[in-house]
């Protein structure tokens, strides 16, 4: 089976011991959409992301990215194809400066080769300078310019989320997978992040986002996919999801057995 959708999965399964963490029959994501993935704690959302990005191997099933079967790809290969993720628990390089975090992410694998680093030495600085212009733009966008030379561990929790987002952006991804970008972020900053995400989408970056903040999800998403106990229990436009019985049940618990 192939598909010309951006990303699609078929009978994707992952279990931990007896626990079926992910069990998705078939799911497709099309271009130019913000899709939100919601569901109760432990529903399997992060695990699903891990499978899509190959941070974990599925027990079975296939993953297609731009029509290509990428199930057997390693995570870094997928990232090179244009699929970039962030982590639920922020993972910035704490002992590197904000600038270095960004430069590392943005620099090409070619310039990072040991032979090129040795031979070219200082002349690589030109690439780095160009990169830095790019970095400055993104830091400006994320309100992080004043922290450019600080160690990443000096950032607040919310700022680390922003840095992680920035680090993903500088890679100019086709598909951005965001795992709870608003968690632990104050309402004003959350608004700003939402605006940024919206703009990215307008610029043509496809976004799949896991988020517990329902209001934000409803406001920004074109499509909402609901997961519970590893399965997709609902999938549709925000309005339809809001009134879906199954969803209400999954979130609020069963009213009667």
């Amino acid at each position: 089976m192939t598909s010309n959708k951006l990303l699609s999965v078929s009978s994707l399964k992952k279990s931990f011991g007896g626990l079926q963490a992910v069990n998705v029959d078939s799911l497709e994501f099309s271009e130019n959409e913000i899709t939100s993935l919601i569901g109760p704690n432990g529903a399997g959302k992060t695990t699903f992301f891990d499978l899509l990005t190959k941070f974990q191997n599925p027990d079975q099933g296939n993953i297609f990215f731009e029509g290509e079967n990428v199930t057997s790809f390693q995570s870094y290969k997928l990232a090179r194809l244009g699929m970039t993720r962030t982590f639920q628990l922020t993972r910035v390089f704490e002992k590197m400066s904000v600038l270095e975090n960004m430069q590392f992410s943005g620099s090409s694998v070619k310039n990072e080769s040991i032979s090129r680093s040795l031979i070219k030495g200082k002349s690589l600085n030109n690439f780095e300078k160009e990169l830095e212009i790019e970095v400055d733009k993104i830091l400006e966008l994320l309100n992080l310019s004043h922290m450019k030379y600080s160690y990443a561990r000096e950032l607040s929790g919310g700022q680390k989320k922003l840095l992680e987002l920035g680090r993903a952006l500088i890679r100019k991804p086709k598909l951005l997978l965001l795992d709870e970008p608003l968690a632990g972020v104050n309402p004003k900053l959350a608004e700003e992040i939402l605006d940024i995400i919206k703009n990215l989408s307008i610029e043509g970056i496809n976004i799949i986002m896991v988020e517990h903040n329902i209001n934000a999800v409803m406001k920004i998403s074109e499509r909402v996919v609901v997961m519970a106990e590893g399965k997709i229990i609902a999938d549709g436009e925000p309005e339809a999801i809001r009134n879906n019985e199954n969803v209400i049940e999954a979130y609020l618990g069963k009213v009667n057995e």
């Binding site: 990232a79 002992k95 270095e100 590392f104």
Partner: protein, 351 residues
């Protein structure tokens, strides 16, 4: 602690310890110094290799002796040599520079072989595998006596290096009454350290060096950003291994004979001691740490007399390592990142 303060501490430590050696030895001070600085240089170079592994990339290598050993054996067996105790005498061989390069490549190859299966796994696997591999290597060298000389070692290979010794070194050695061959090895060692540090300085500041630091911190994040963390770790592992190989070659020339007993596990742990004293992650730290380590090793004879009258070899060795241990403890308490290390660099995040 500010950087310049670290250098002040380093310089004063060195001054005090050199003065101590000067005052505590009435005769043969020059000989003691040349011996100390040569060994310290060789250990320092080896520790620089571990620093690339651990300080730059977070890789735990407890088998450095094997990289030193394979470098030494490969090179020495490729140049004219004789196997110890009635073994074969081989009078032809490769030119020394070529043999050295092959020796370093052999060390890198061993790094590749050990790294390929383990660097995909968690950091502790590499630690275990390197310890085991170092012992396996040593036992193989011991048992393949026909090729390696076994426990009788390899001899008569020094000429390849000593024939290149310039006259002024010989004259200098004669005038200060030290061994001219050791002085020559010492000079070459410190020249190689300077070259290695220049080379590493270039790499550390490059995008490649930055990528290694990223790997050291969080491999998963590195992967998520499209970088091949395993390959980066392998490269670092091979680079550090080949530096280890080079130091092993120098060690063989310094002893003048190649003995399998040189490459025992404790050698690796001396190197770690030097690295921790000098400062994990800092460029010159390992070399400084090695000098301090060797000052203790050579300077404790007179200190030992405080504890024993006419201390014998065993008692001396004991006292030495009490001092090494104490110094490591004090370093850990007062400047846990080592004398030249940065505080940010220390935290032992192991890949």
């Amino acid at each position: 602690m500010k950087d310049y303060k670290r250098y002040i501490i380093a310089v004063s430590l060195l001054t005090v310890s050199f003065l101590y050696i000067f005052t505590s030895n009435e005769t043969g001070v020059a000989r003691i110094f040349v011996n100390l600085l040569t060994f310290a240089g060789i250990y320092g170079l080896a520790a620089i290799g571990i620093n690339v592994h651990f300080g730059w990339t977070g890789l735990l290598n407890f088998g450095h002796a094997a990289f030193m050993g394979i470098g030494a054996y490969t090179t020495i067996l490729l140049i004219p040599h004789a196997l110890g105790r009635e073994g074969v005498v081989i009078e032809t061989g490769l030119p020394l520079p070529l043999a050295v390069i092959i020796g370093m490549l052999a060390a890198a190859l061993l790094g590749l072989i050990l790294g390929l299966p383990t660097l995909r796994l968690r950091g502790d696997y590499l630690a275990i595998v390197t310890i085991a591999a170092a012992e396996i290597f040593r036992l193989l060298i011991r048992d393949f006596e026909d090729i390696t000389g076994g426990v009788y070692g390899v001899i008569q290979f020094s000429e390849a290096l000593q024939s290149l010794r310039p006259n002024f070194i010989t004259n200098l050695a004669t005038s200060i009454e030290v061994s001219s061959s050791q002085l020559w090895v010492g000079v070459i060692t410190w020249i190689l350290i300077i070259f290695t540090l220049l080379f590493l300085n270039r790499l550390q500041k490059s995008p490649w060096g930055r990528a290694l630091r990223a790997v050291r911190e969080d491999e998963d994040a590195v992967r998520a950003l499209g970088k091949n963390a395993v390959w980066l770790k392998l490269q670092s592992f091979m680079l550090g291994a080949s530096i280890g190989g080079l130091s092993g070659i120098l060690l063989a020339f310094n002893y003048g004979t190649l003995q399998v007993s040189t490459f025992v596990p404790v050698l690796t742990f001396y190197l770690w001691a030097a690295l921790i004293l000098g400062g994990v992650g800092s460029l010159a730290g390992p070399a400084l740490g090695a000098v301090i380590f060797w000052v203790i090793i050579s300077g404790t004879d007179s200190l030992a007399e405080i504890f024993f009258e006419n201390a014998n070899g065993q008692q001396l060795a004991g006292v030495r390592f009490v001092f090494v241990g104490l110094l490591i403890m004090f370093t850990m308490i007062f400047t846990p990142s080592g004398i030249l290390g940065k505080k940010e660099e220390l935290l032992l995040d192991i890949k």
